[in-house]
């Protein structure tokens, strides 16, 4: 058995890592829906979900069960193969793209086997990511077509036109980063952003530094990415005021939730990529000098703060269930905080993943914030922004970055 393990360590490690990542991502997806509903509710002066479990924390579980046990009718006249394939394709591609994301700098040692955080470390990581996302349009377009219904067909048509248009801007907007890093490997792209400039005040992240700061590139990337993931204000494919529910009108039960999960997985991928390409990935925003070592205790402070808040809030909760669950959760968070603070090895290990995940969290927040704030665009406005604003802007970014990189490297 151990011989088998050591011979096929690569495959075993990949399988185990995939299983762990899948578990984490699916849980995150579930709680992202809770987070989204809560955040939008608070932006709109409401409470959001608060009935199922304390503060609605068990709402994702209830939603999942509800979706699983719903009746799943298949409409008449659907193209059966494509109709069943489309949601699976959406979810599978959404989850696959997360496999190339590196989550932390240092390798992990388990039973003498060294492995990176992240499933695949590819030379062409960024290209693979774009290849997978470019296939993602089929899930939506085919769902719309195969449903044999008017509104889904319109939604599918809209989304395929939209995705073709915005993919150009999306791909061109990262060319500037590639020119500065000189690599497609996501680890190397992060590595190229290490260090500080301007007397150590600013980190050497692509958004502010380099021959040409990629602010324009980042704006193009994020707008195009929101459009690629079919999120508000670009969610024309499922505009409920015009198209009932767009491409997934005829889908119910678990097939609907597969589209839903695919969309959220894409949101996470886009946020990860934004933080890797423009915001230094797992690099800390603080300098590595001894004065700044206190920032190593920031993860502990945040965890402990949230934990203490959960305990204090929990002991005054209305229901007995909440009075048990919330303080329990708070104690667990405080325990984690203590672990991060008092075990030096753990403390130094979690720095990378902590900064990476907090940046990803910020982008997810912006995603939801945008959805709660901006009204949906009209279709001609959508196409106008894609072709007349984003495409020229990202092309200009490529030209300018190319010029500055060439000038800088000649010196």
């Amino acid at each position: 058995m151990s011989e088998f393990l050591s011979q096929h360590a690569f495959f075993v490690a990949a399988a185990v890592k995939s299983a762990i990542l899948l578990f984490i991502v699916l849980t995150t997806l579930a709680y992202l829906t809770w987070f989204e509903r809560k955040l939008i509710a608070h932006i709109q002066s409401r409470w959001g979900p608060h009935r199922v479990g304390p503060n609605g924390l068990l709402q994702p579980l209830a939603d999942g069960l509800k979706l699983l046990f719903k009746e799943d009718p298949t409409p008449a006249g659907v193209d059966r193969l494509v109709y069943f394939m489309a949601p699976a394709l959406s979810l599978a591609l959404g989850l696959t793209s997360l496999a190339v994301i590196p989550f932390g700098p240092e390798p992990m040692r388990i039973f003498g086997y060294e492995t990176h955080l992240g499933i695949a470390d590819l030379n062409i990581g960024l290209l693979v990511l774009f290849a997978i996302t470019s296939l993602g349009v089929y899930g939506i377009a085919l769902a719309g077509w195969s449903s044999n219904s008017k509104y889904p067909l319109l939604g599918g048509l809209r989304s395929s036109a939209q995705m073709i248009s915005y993919e150009l801007a999306l791909t061109l907007s990262v060319v500037g980063v590639l020119l500065m890093a000189g690599s497609f490997n996501l680890r190397e792209i992060i590595g190229a952003q290490e260090g500080r400039f301007l007397h150590g005040i600013l980190p050497r992240w692509n958004i502010v530094s380099g021959p040409f700061p990629q602010i324009l590139g980042f704006l193009c990337y994020f707008v195009a990415a929101v459009a690629e993931t079919n999120r508000a204000p670009f969610d024309l494919a499922e505009a409920e005021s015009e198209l009932v529910a767009g491409f997934h009108t005829e889908y119910a039960s678990f097939k609907f939730s597969m589209f839903f999960m695919g969309e959220y997985a894409n949101m996470i991928t886009v946020s990860c990529l934004a933080s890797i390409l423009f915001f230094g990935g797992w690099l800390s925003p603080f300098p590595a000098t001894p004065i700044w070592t206190w920032t190593h205790y920031l993860p502990s402070a945040i965890f402990a703060g949230v934990g203490i808040y959960a305990i204090l809030d929990g002991i005054r909760y209305e229901t007995v269930f909440g009075r048990i669950i919330l303080p329990g959760l708070g104690t667990a968070l405080c325990g984690l905080a203590a672990l991060f603070a008092f075990v030096p090895a753990v403390n130094s290990y979690i720095q990378g993943p902590f900064w990476f995940l907090s940046k990803v969290f910020v982008f997810l927040f912006i995603y939801i914030w945008t959805r709660a704030t901006l009204p949906r665009l009209r279709y001609d406005q959508l196409m106008g922004i894609g072709w007349k604003v984003l495409l020229p802007a990202s092309l200009a970014n490529v030209v300018l970055t190319g010029f500055f990189v060439a000038k800088w490297s000649l010196r």
Partner: protein, 167 residues
């Protein structure tokens, strides 16, 4: 590790099955989907040869952009199931011998080539990309620019045709 030869035959079988299904499917969307399968399998074959950049571009450009346009047009025209016509006589008379001849030539060429693909010393990652860009923008820059000019002319032609209908 799985030997590359097995991976090759699996991918080749998927590509051939996709190509056959492309011809045999009666519905245009199913044919288009089969073509996507062929392209993804081809990308896998490129990966096996160590051409990572070409593999990724194959998926991004062909499967991700051109085939999306195909599917879009099929959906827009709402093309239905094609009618089966009798096989034309010309195809029977000329096609079968030509097909057999082509297979024969290919098999002969493959059997004759004894050069073993050089293993090891494959350029990796960015080196491949750099090589391709050097070829495109230095050695073959004129053919490359001419091709892009040709595409531009085609785009303008399409625009003119579309505009004329509007008036």
């Amino acid at each position: 590790m799985i030997p590359p030869i097995i991976v090759f035959f699996v991918l080749a079988a998927i590509a051939v099955a996709g190509a056959v299904s492309l011809i045999l499917q009666r519905h245009p969307i199913h044919s288009a989907l089969s073509l996507i399968v062929v392209m993804v399998a081809l990308a896998g074959l490129y990966l096996l040869l160590g051409a990572e950049f070409v593999a990724a571009v194959q998926i991004i450009v062909y499967a991700g952009a051109i085939m999306v346009l195909f599917v879009f047009v099929i959906m827009l025209l709402n093309a239905g199931v094609e009618e089966q016509t009798n096989v034309s006589k010309l195809a029977g008379i000329a096609g079968i011998p030509l097909g057999v001849a082509l297979t024969g030539f290919l098999a002969a060429a493959v059997a004759k080539s004894t050069a073993v693909a050089s293993a090891g010393a494959h350029p990796t990652g960015t080196e491949i990309t750099r090589g391709i860009s050097k070829m495109l923008f230095q050695e073959f820059v004129y053919p490359f620019e001419l091709t892009s000019f040709l595409i531009l002319v085609a785009i303008l032609g399409a625009l003119v045709l579309a505009q004329r209908e509007k008036r």
